[in-house]
């Protein structure tokens, strides 16, 4: 049996990284990887086996990401998808991009919901307006409402509620799309 010091070094670093990343039962994973590396060493292929795994830190992240992406994709709720994108965005560009667009859409949904509150208490200065040049403006105007033409009128609240729901659903769809792309990428890496 080989006792190549690179095996101990890799396995120790892998266990530390798995523990740090909160992967369950790191000892079980490390035992299996050690067994794999020992077999590879016996057949003179340790170098190739270590190359396939990359650094211990990156390899530990593969375990965590494989579980996290799949879990979030299956559960599909915004809480899980957004939480997963936040956690993965530090080292995955796809997650960062997905989080960016999801965040914009969710914030827009919240903003539109806030205008509904203003519409209830101050209907004359809140709504969908156009100015003299025909530019649309959604929200609240501070003063001089005569410079704007209001549209929708009493229908603003149901329309704004539908818009907020649309932005919310679009944000969720973007988050799921990002997870789906990362899931496919994980499969491609095999």
């Amino acid at each position: 049996m080989s006792t190549d010091p690179r095996i101990d070094k890799f396995c120790d670093a892998l266990e530390q990284n798995l523990t740090r990343l909160g992967v369950e039962q790191p000892g079980d994973i490390v035992s299996e990887i050690r067994s794999h590396l020992l077999s590879a060493a016996d057949s003179g292929a340790l170098e190739a086996a270590l190359d396939e795994m990359g650094s211990a830190g990156d390899y530990a992240r593969q375990f965590r990401d494989e579980l996290r992406i799949e879990d979030a994709y299956i559960r599909s709720g915004p809480k899980h998808t957004v939480a997963t994108l936040i956690l993965l965005s530090a080292h995955r560009l796809g997650a960062a991009i997905g989080l960016f667009f999801t965040g914009i859409l969710y914030l827009t949904a919240v903003s539109v919901l806030v205008t509904i509150g203003f519409e209830i208490f101050n209907p004359s200065s809140t709504g969908l307006f156009t100015d003299d040049s025909g530019v649309f403006f959604l929200g609240t105007i501070a003063s001089d409402t005569s410079a704007y033409t209001e549209h929708l009128g009493g229908f603003y609240i149901p329309v704004a509620a539908a818009m907020a729901m649309g932005f919310y659903l679009a944000g969720g769809a973007i988050a799921r799309l990002a997870l789906r792309l990362m899931r496919k990428k994980s499969n491609r890496q095999v």
Binding site: S35, A49, D51, Q62, D65, K184, R188, V190
Partner: protein, 113 residues
Amino acid sequence: MIMNIDSWKSQLRKGAAELAVLALLNHTPSSGIALVKRVEPYPNIGLSGGALYPLLNRLEREGKIAGRWSSETVGRPEKAYEVTPDGKAWLAAMREARTFFDQDMNAILEAKA
């Protein structure tokens, strides 16, 4: 025009790894290292050892496969995996979907204008 056949081949492998692993384990329960050796004759599947263990770990946590440590190999314990009943049902569904996909794709490729 830049033609990258490797990129296209990697697209073909999308989702294939899970199907290949479940199918191989369904035939014969194996350890990770044994699985790596069993896929060596099929290089076009592109299943490498490095990414196999995270996949096995996920499939086990999802209940599609079950792992059990054994010490049949003298001096070195190995974790052998077998497909669970849930995994067999999942595999059957994947195979069916794959069959229908292949049928349609073959029909398109062999269709005469």
